[in-house]
């Protein structure tokens, strides 16, 4: 295997923490050939990032590494620090997940790119400048000769990731390690960045080690795949083999974890539960002492109607106003326009008159870490709504209801005296669902309830939501940027952009024949066309 560019041989990484040793990577071996793309796939905590960071010898000091990492036959683990610095940013370079924070905020981007050229090619600042402009042009930064003097805060997330790529490509590396480079970006931006990487790979003939949790990307992007789990390599092979004929059960589960199935349609004679007409929400932008002088309209005149038992999906990228719309419908935000719940107008109700309705319309938020008060036990969290809406309950009755709700979301009721920080992300999301469910609501607003979860956990939460809907005849408004989840759950879909609905229709119609260009772009970028 002399032609391997990078060979990872029995790599193990242990972290020596104050309360014991944690092994993050266990006896992992794989290799990359020149010019190929290898995807390292796994969920959080699988050790995929640790392995690649180990190849650059950039792990924190408390990490102990054993095994061998050979780059063109040279063992990097035993290379001198000086030798490593010759390789980093030169023969092997790296881009990261966090485009917003990976650039030095106090330095012009041109300077930061030029630094690599100065370091490895010995250019001086004047010689480097035209080369930097050329690089910026290659990664698709508009007006590169002006942008070269920008500071990072003047660029969007996608542009910053392009700058990172320019920096990584400056010395034409033989290997690019891309650690979740598109995870923090909107899907359409993600598609552009992936296309750019493909294009640059063809031009420079470099190999890419692509680390990701997103199987959709892997399928389209990688030549070969390695699947990692709990620090171990469970399966590897060509992309075709792994997706076509996964041998390991975990790989199969990951592939299956793509939400599938469709929702059974709801009878069109069912009455409307929630309707909105010309709903508008605006935020004050510039605050003067006495009144706002400028406004930003986040929701611009939206009409929407949901029948009993239906699930309406709202999709859109960050900043499209989808979450704002959801909060306005529940009267958690001030809005203008009409909102009707179960036939009566609720838009003008004051807090007191709104309160009895609150038990009928509930919400589950995105962030499983932010949506539970860290100072209350799970039991207290769940029973809080009961105290408001059923003051007649005594302690034992409340307790019984809490236990029932926890069982309903498949959590052990014995855990009700524990605090939220003692639970995992998926478990917390179940607790949030139990908090809503205990009030026996008719309508549930689900605001990205699965976006912060690993794919395999996501699937279990989606199954739960589905079962609950059937069992209790619930009506959902499901907000998500994840098209495949929406497709699996929703009857009808609204596509939002810049505070407006650009397209709506049944799930079937929208996914089969998106009419608007924006919707088509979203679909293409999210690779939903070929999933299940």
């Amino acid at each position: 295997m002399a032609d391997n560019l990078l060979e990872i041989d029995n790599l193990s990484v242990d972290f020596q923490l104050p309360n014991g040793t944690v092994s993050a990577v266990k006896d992992v071996s794989f290799s990359i050939q020149p010019g190929e793309t290898l995807a390292l796939v796994g969920e959080s905590g699988s050790g995929k990032s640790v392995s690649s960071t180990a190849a650059m010898r950039l792990l924190p000091e408390l990490a102990r590494t054993s095994g061998a990492i050979r780059f063109k036959g040279e063992d990097l683990l035993s290379a001198t620090p000086k030798r490593m610095r010759r390789i980093r940013g030169n023969a092997i370079s790296m881009i990261f997940q966090e485009p917003m924070t990976s650039l030095n905020p106090l330095q012009r981007i041109g300077r930061q790119i030029a630094e690599v050229l100065e370091k490895h090619l010995g250019l001086n600042g004047r010689q480097a400048r035209p080369k930097v402009i050329e690089l910026l042009e290659q990664v698709g930064i508009p007006e590169p000769s002006r942008r070269i003097d920008s500071y990072p805060y003047e660029l969007s997330g996608g542009q910053r990731q392009r700058v990172m790529i320019a920096m990584a490509l400056a010395c034409e590396p033989e290997l690019l390690i891309a650690d979740e480079p598109t995870t923090a970006l909107d899907v359409t931006v993600q598609a552009q960045i992936l296309a750019l990487l493909k294009d640059l790979q063809a031009r420079y003939g470099m190999a890419i080690l692509f680390i990701t949790h997103d199987l959709g990307i892997v399928r389209h992007f990688a030549d070969r795949v390695c699947v990692m789990r709990h620090g171990e390599l469970v399966e590897s092979g060509t992309t075709g083999e792994v997706f076509g004929n996964p041998r390991h059960a975990y790989t199969r589960m990951l592939i299956d974890a793509d939400p599938h199935g469709r929702k059974a349609p709801v009878d069109t004679t069912m009455p409307m539960l929630l309707e909105a007409k010309d709903l508008r929400v605006r935020f004050a932008l510039k605050k003067r002492l006495f009144r706002a002088s400028e406004y930003f309209e986040a929701v611009r005149g939206i009409d929407l109607s949901i029948r009993r038992g239906q699930t309406v999906g709202i999709v859109g990228e960050s900043g499209s106003g989808k979450s704002t719309l959801g909060r306005a419908l529940l009267r958690l935000l001030k809005s203008r326009g009409e909102i009707r719940f179960d036939g009566s107008d609720i838009a003008a109700l004051d807090t007191g008159s709104m309160r009895p309705l609150r038990s009928r319309m509930q919400v589950v938020f995105q962030d499983p870490f932010g949506s539970l008060s860290p100072r209350m036990t799970v039991g207290e969290v769940i029973s809080e709504g009961l105290r408001v809406h059923h003051p007649e309950f005594n302690r034992r009755q409340r307790e019984a209801q809490v236990i029932e709700a926890l069982e309903e979301v498949a959590l052990d009721p014995a855990m009700r005296n524990r605090y939220p920080h003692e639970f995992s992300g998926g478990q917390r999301q179940r607790i949030a669902i139990a908090r809503a469910l205990v009030l026996k609501p008719e309508f549930l607003l689900l605001d990205e309830p699965t976006s912060a979860l690993d794919r395999s956990v996501q699937v279990t939460v989606i199954d739960l939501l589905r079962n609950l809907q059937q069992k209790h005849d619930l009506t959902y408004l499901f907000i998500s940027h994840d098209l495949s989840v929406v497709r699996a759950l929703a009857d009808t879909v609204l596509v939002m952009k810049e505070g407006q609905v650009v397209e709506q229709g049944t799930t079937e119609e929208i996914f089969a024949q998106p009419r608007e260009r924006y919707t088509q772009e979203l679909m293409r970028a999210a690779f939903v066309d070929d999933a299940a």
Binding site: E232, F365, S371, R375, R435, V457
Partner: protein, 309 residues
Amino acid sequence: MTTDTTSYSGHKLPPGSPNPPAEPDPVAGESLGQDAWRRLKQNKAAMVSLILLVLISAVCVAGPYLLPWGLAEVDWNAFSVAPTLENGHFLGTDANGRDLLTRTLYGGRVSLSVALVATFVSLVIGVLYGAISGYVGGRVDNLMMRFVDIMYSLPFMFLVILLMVVFGRNIFLIYAAIGAVEWLDMARIVRGQTLALKQREFIEAAHALGVRDRKIVTRHLIPNAIGPVIIYVTLTVPKVILLESFLSFLGLGVQEPLTSWGVLISAGTDMMQSAPWLLLVPSLFLAVTLFCLNFLGDGLRDALDPKTR
């Protein structure tokens, strides 16, 4: 982020997969407060400081009852005596024949009471001001914070000194004046916390449950803002003690017959060549107290700061 491998419905994990993370005792939960206390107990420096502080406070409160000398009692046989075990003046006497240990302990009472009362004053003003500003928000917040900005740019120490000069050296005035200076930071911290918490989803969820505003403040806002407030209080106490000593040193603090560590240090400075113990003893008490308070503050910050979590 935590991985969730223990799935409850649907997908079973393949056999032979590594164990899920060990589950703690499922019934008894550990609150953040208990968790912080456990971590604080592991911090030796902080615990030693805490014990020393309790000791110093206990000695200052109980000591004067146990010692044979009164605060202003003159021992006509012992003027400016160095520390000794022989005549019962363990830490010596001052030029007026008064027992230094007794006076230092009485001084400690004053210094510590100023610390507690003035910190409490700043806490009450700061928490109320900051919480109102942050919770009401908008225009009110804007005006209230402008006012704090202006207060910040005043040369406050000089105004306090002026106040002491004008209204005489009265311990209640000291409480009020120092409290009035120190509430600004507290107000800012509480306001920041309130604003940040207001954005958190669990507050939104409480609104969605129909929980009343008053309950949201008492059940959600205050318990969650309390960590940073505790940290800041432990940092305020040494600042207040220092301020009181500073005023006393300038001759603007408490008046005879009362004394405080700052007064004693000031008196000791005048005598330091002939009777250095008069400077060193109260200085040592003051420094050890401040040292312990700072250590404890650091320890509390490490134990309570969510960033280390």
